[in-house]
Symmetry: C2
Subunit: 98 residues, 2 copies
DNA sequence: TCTATAACTTTGAAAAACAAAGTGCTTTTA
DNA sequence: TAAAAGCACTTTGTTTTTCAAAGTTATAGA
């Protein structure tokens, strides 16, 4: 019997950050509003979770214009991809022992 | 693109409660002190997470004597097993889309 | 010009996490 | 037999996290 949670990443304890990462892992670029709708969050709540992930350097922010309107999209960094993969591996390992 | 976190159980957001459940899923009965050691927690911290899981009726408390010493062990309830399984299924589904 | 939308930031309240110390009971040890 | 130690908590209090709601800035469209 050994510690099953030692390899889990604290940042991904949050269901919401897990959701953001999993959306960004599958879709190259996702906009603020898409994330907001997908995860059914308020602006502020989403913004703060995105901020946490940004601080950790797990994602990039891309500010662009679609036509003349601003559109902010988010994408995963290499570090983010790696950290997320490690977390999922740890989860999978945990699941597999069950 | 659909909400990837809708089926996750809020109670299992916590790494520690996830760890407790995964230990109890594999080992029929685990004592307070084993859990404490495995997960590297203080008494109070473990007790409060166990309490949360007990409130949710995800685990049973068994107070017994080993020789003449008290030993409290914990085991998973049917509801706990089911809820945990659903959570893991949701996680697996999330992982598989990636 | 007025309204709406995007993407935040700020504020503040509520909940959760956690460590540390205290408790009551029993058992072992000096 | 008195003191020390272990078990399984509970209590206390601080720190951290979560979240909603409101405010902000800038642009776009009617």
């Amino acid at each position: 019997m050994k510690n099953p949670i030692a390899d889990l990443n604290k940042i991904f304890d949050s269901r919401i950050r897990l959701g953001v990462m999993s959306l960004l892992a599958v879709n190259e670029n996702v906009s603020f509003n898409e994330l907001k709708e997908m995860l059914a969050l308020t602006d502020g709540n989403l913004a703060s979770h995105l901020n946490t992930l940004e601080q950790a350097q797990y994602l990039n922010v891309n500010k662009a214009f679609v036509g003349r309107k601003t559109s902010t999209t988010y994408s995963i960094t290499a570090l983010g991809k790696q950290s997320f993969k490690m977390h999922l591996d740890a989860l999978e390992k945990m699941i597999r022992t069950i």
